[in-house]
Amino acid sequence: MSKHHVTTTVNGEPAEFLCEPHHSLLDALRDELKLTGSKEGCGSGDCGACSVIVDGRLVCSCLMLAVEADGHAIETIEGLAQGEVLHPLQRKFLEHAALQCGFCTPGLLVAAKALLDRNPDPTETEARYWLAGNLCRCTGYDKVIRAVLDAAAEMRGE
């Protein structure tokens, strides 16, 4: 059971790590690359707390082996803000109080970014269906949806 050497790009920067074949991408991000923003809620692809973007596609990093990341580009919550400047989604989550405990928030932000990357003007229904795989036990989702739609409007220059 030798370790695999994985070469990848994380938030635009080259990254490499060693992993066991059974490690998930989430394990590698948190334990090898020390990017602990992505969370493990369920470990079975139901809660979305570990959401990352791989080659432009939103995925659960718990449902992908770390070794599968070789040669692919990964975006995580750590890449959302530009230095000290928060992404509009992050600002709007704060303004709308779209989080309480915050455990689901990184996943929700990454999933919402993936939505706005492909659909800058989603309807409320589209946003709710897109985010159906991100569970939040605090907010009841309304504030999350309002924050996402408000961020989208701001990013469209409205």
């Binding site: 059971m1 695999h4 066991e20 074949p21 059974h22 490690h23 998930s24 470990g43 079975s44 692809g45 139901d46 979305g48 959401s51 791989v54 596609r57 939103l58 995925v59 659960c60 718990c62 449902l63 992908m64 082996l65 070794v67 599968e68 999933a111 993936a114 939505l115 269906y129 897109w130 985010l131 159906a132 795989g133 991100n134």
Partner: protein, 289 residues
């Protein structure tokens, strides 16, 4: 997760060799959205995972003279973005896109949904109704198998240990032909089918059905093709008499389990209702083209 080894072969013969020569349990992986959950929970303990995603042709959708070739590991998200496929086979696409969340759609594949062999797999009744076939490769060569011949029971397939699916074939559509898939779940998203129904029809210029296929999911140990339900539609327009026969034939094909998600009586009744509704959508789509 327990220990195992991982290989991502670059050629089909290499993949077959790995599967054929594995000492213990070897599992074929495409998207991994079912396999990795089962692996993590200890329900399956493979010694080797063979990742198919580096094999040539295993992802992507190609339009050919005969229809569509969908790579076995093509993600649900890619399937939903293929405009030509959405146009020709809207029922297959809507079924594939019902699997899991947006995140799961980024990885989940038709081959995984089929070979996981759940009776409730959403894409399977739609593919059976569509006369989809699988291109299967193994040490004895390549064969083309109808989708309905792959699953033989919950969690069990007819594939040999060194065989796997590399692509699905969907036939070309004549004029006035369309399909539809509906499932019942007690909420609007993120759930497993209590009943699923796929219907594919071809109409003549007058709206009379000349060809039909009906398949049901989650009402028997495997998805079932229901020839009597198709026969109820052929030779008819979408009239109440034909729909009543379709409904009765769908109910007669049900051998469901009783569980927390649906009783036998409920699943049986809903199978008839969904068959009717899916037929109505398929007729409407077919008539509009």
């Amino acid at each position: 997760m327990p220990k195992m080894s991982y290989a991502a072969p670059a050629t089909i013969p290499e993949a077959i060799g790995l599967l054929a020569n594995a000492a213990g349990l070897a599992k074929v992986m495409s998207g991994g959205t079912d396999l990795l959950v089962q692996f993590r929970s200890g329900r399956t303990r493979p010694e080797l995972i063979v990742d198919t995603k580096k094999l040539p042709g295993i992802t992507g959708i190609r339009v050919t003279d005969d229809g569509f070739v969908i790579g076995a590991a093509t993600s649900g998200a890619e399937i939903g973005e293929c405009a030509a496929l959405v146009q020709a086979w809207p029922g297959v696409v809507e079924a594939a896109n019902l699997i899991g969340s947006t995140q799961v759609q980024g990885r989940a594949s038709l081959a995984g949904n089929l070979c996981n062999a759940s009776p409730a797999a959403d894409s399977v009744p739609a593919m059976i109704a569509a006369r989809a076939t699988c291109v299967v490769v193994g040490s004895k060569g390549r064969r083309e198998v109808p989708v309905e011949d792959i699953v033989i029971g919950p969690g069990r397939t007819s594939l040999a240990r060194d065989e796997f699916i590399i692509a699905f074939h969907l036939p070309r559509r004549p004029a006035h032909a369309a399909d539809a898939y509906l499932r019942f779940i007690p909420r609007t998203e993120m759930d497993i089918a209590v009943v699923g129904a796929g219907v594919s029809v071809t109409l003549d210029a007058a709206g009379v059905c000349t060809d039909a296929r009906v398949a049901l999911g989650a009402v028997a140990p495997t998805a079932v093709l229901v020839p009597d339900a198709a026969a109820a539609l052929i030779g008819h327009t979408l009239d109440e008499a034909a729909l009543a026969k379709l409904d009765a034939a769908a109910r007669a094909a049900c051998k469901p389990i009783d569980d927390k998600r649906g009783t036998i009586a409920f699943r049986t009744k809903v199978a008839g209702v969904l068959a009717r509704r899916a037929a109505a959508i398929a007729f409407e789509r077919a008539g509009a083209r």
